[in-house]
Amino acid sequence: MNTSVNLAGVTLKNPVLTASGTFGSGMEYGEFVDLSRLGGVVTKGVAITPWEGNPTPRIAETTGGMLNAIGLQNPGLDVFCERDLPFLSKFDTAIVVNVCGHSEEEYVKAVERLAETNADLLEINISCPNVKEGGIAFGTNAAKIEEITRAVKKVARQPIIMKLSPNVTDITEMALAAQNGGADAVSLINTITGMKIDINRRTFALANKTGGLSGPAIKPVAVRMVYQVAQKVSVPILGMGGIASAEDALEFLMAGATAVSVGTANFHNPRVTEEIVDGIEAYMKRNRVEDIHELIGCVK
């Protein structure tokens, strides 16, 4: 039985990765999951310098999901390269570094710096809804996406995955822009911008007022977008958005994703990623699927 997939030139032992921002750099979940069983670990977004992030509250629960407005707090690339990369290198799993920046120049500098490291893939976060500069300001503008993709590709040693925002009229336009800019893959979806009001305090539940909605509540939107993008682009898709079980992951694969990222579900069950790997294998065995590629994009 073959579960391995090729994501933008990198072979993953299985199509299950973690979603950026929900898994740190793997260290905190090492107590619950054998990281070597995962296809890859996608790190929390990192920038060239440390970022403080947003004020608290940064988290609010919603029915079937949650809002977050962390604001891409990160320790900066120096610490990341000294502490987090060596930790992840001890495991037999692909290292996907999520990169954030306030400007095109910051993205380029970060990608340049990461070229010297053993990271396997870079995921460029142009779709965070919780930071004013960079983030979603780039991710909702097709021309800007193409420009940034081209700029990072010029200096990148690793394959580049552009992470797309669902907060647009037509996500396929954004995916095509990334492909035209030379992206090796696209990942989708980032969180959907939302808001919650605390009726007892009569104010916003989050200090940032708005946050990114994630969790099972957004899964049908994500599956739809992965399907639409799969019909339009030729680069592989890393699919995500509300995956909490092997059945959810299989939906994304069938809709056209080459691999999937599991995010918010880690908060509900810290062992969920490994359980999804097991669940996909069990499905394949049960349905006599010899190769996972029989499932990828099988729904047209």
Partner: protein, 268 residues
């Protein structure tokens, strides 16, 4: 080491309106837990994803049990309060760095434990362990009214003082009023006194002010909205004066570096 497991509830009872007690068969957590740590409980309703952080009130290391005392504030805690002995509940724990931080400082023999409302429960295990360690343990407990909870339990380990919002028992006012009224930090006793507190933010800020004014060490337990409970999501941070060793910015994780902090480290 944190564990994520389904545990059996041995006891579940209502202490007073909105305040519940739950005892878990939790051998591993009972062995490792320290005062000030907490556990995360998960709801059975799959539409509520996030764990509910609840402080550890007491442990029986021999019997392998952990007691939680919590207030019903929303959907999750209401679901927990409806559970009965014999039911199962999913638990992650023990979590965080508790009051063991205190002994890292100077060895002060007078320990003033301050609990406000639902901040009282974690003070019980702390009082028990500090009494066993030979400290002089004084507890100052703030309630809304004379309808107290855990007061008799606390009296086993500490000399107790009470403050109530309505003046129906003890000092009429706050725990800080009770500390002043009873002269609990006598002149000259500053160096040998340590305050350990858990309660609402205004109380903790007031205590930080008192500690600064009297030059007494104070350690407080903080709470914040959390998502992961393991230190990965960076949801539950608190602002710190110095650059935190993990984050490399002025943010410490309440679930990992905390929930207990030296007030001098915090931006209150």
């Amino acid at each position: 080491m944190k564990r994520y497991e389904s545990l059996t509830i041995l006891e579940s009872s209502c202490l007073q309106e909105g305040i519940y007690s739950m005892t878990l068969d939790a051998r591993a957590i009972a062995q490792e837990a320290e005062p000030g740590q907490f556990v995360c409980l998960y709801t059975d309703d799959q539409s509520r994803l996030l764990p509910r952080p609840i402080s550890i009130c007491d442990v029986d290391r021999e019997a392998g049990t952990v007691r939680l005392v919590y207030r019903t504030v929303g959907f999750g805690t209401k679901e927990f309060s409806g559970k009965k002995a014999g039911d199962a509940i999913t638990v992650l724990g023990p979590i965080g760095t508790g009051y063991s931080k205190v002994s890292e400082g100077k060895e002060a023999p007078r320990r003033i434990l301050v609990g406000g409302g639902i901040g009282i429960p974690p003070m019980l295990l702390l009082a028990k362990e500090w009494k066993q360690a030979g400290y002089e343990v004084i507890a100052v407990l703030g309630y809304r009214t004379k309808d107290t909870f855990l007061l008799d339990d606390m009296k086993q380990y500490a000399t107790c003082y009470v403050a109530t919002d309505d003046g129906s028992l003890g000092t009429h006012g706050t725990v800080i009023d009770a500390i002043r009224e009873n002269g609990l930090i006598p002149e000259g006793a500053e160096a040998e006194t340590v305050i350990a507190a858990c309660g609402p933010m205004p109380m903790l800020r007031g205590l930080a002010g008192l500690a600064a004014e009297r030059n007494v060490s104070a350690y407080v337990s903080l709470e914040e909205r959390m998502a992961c409970g393991v230190g990965a999501c960076l949801g539950c941070i608190t602002k710190t004066k110095s650059v935190d060793a993990h984050s490399h910015v002025h943010n410490a994780r309440i679930c990992t570096e905390g929930p207990v902090f030296d007030v001098r480290e915090l931006c209150f």
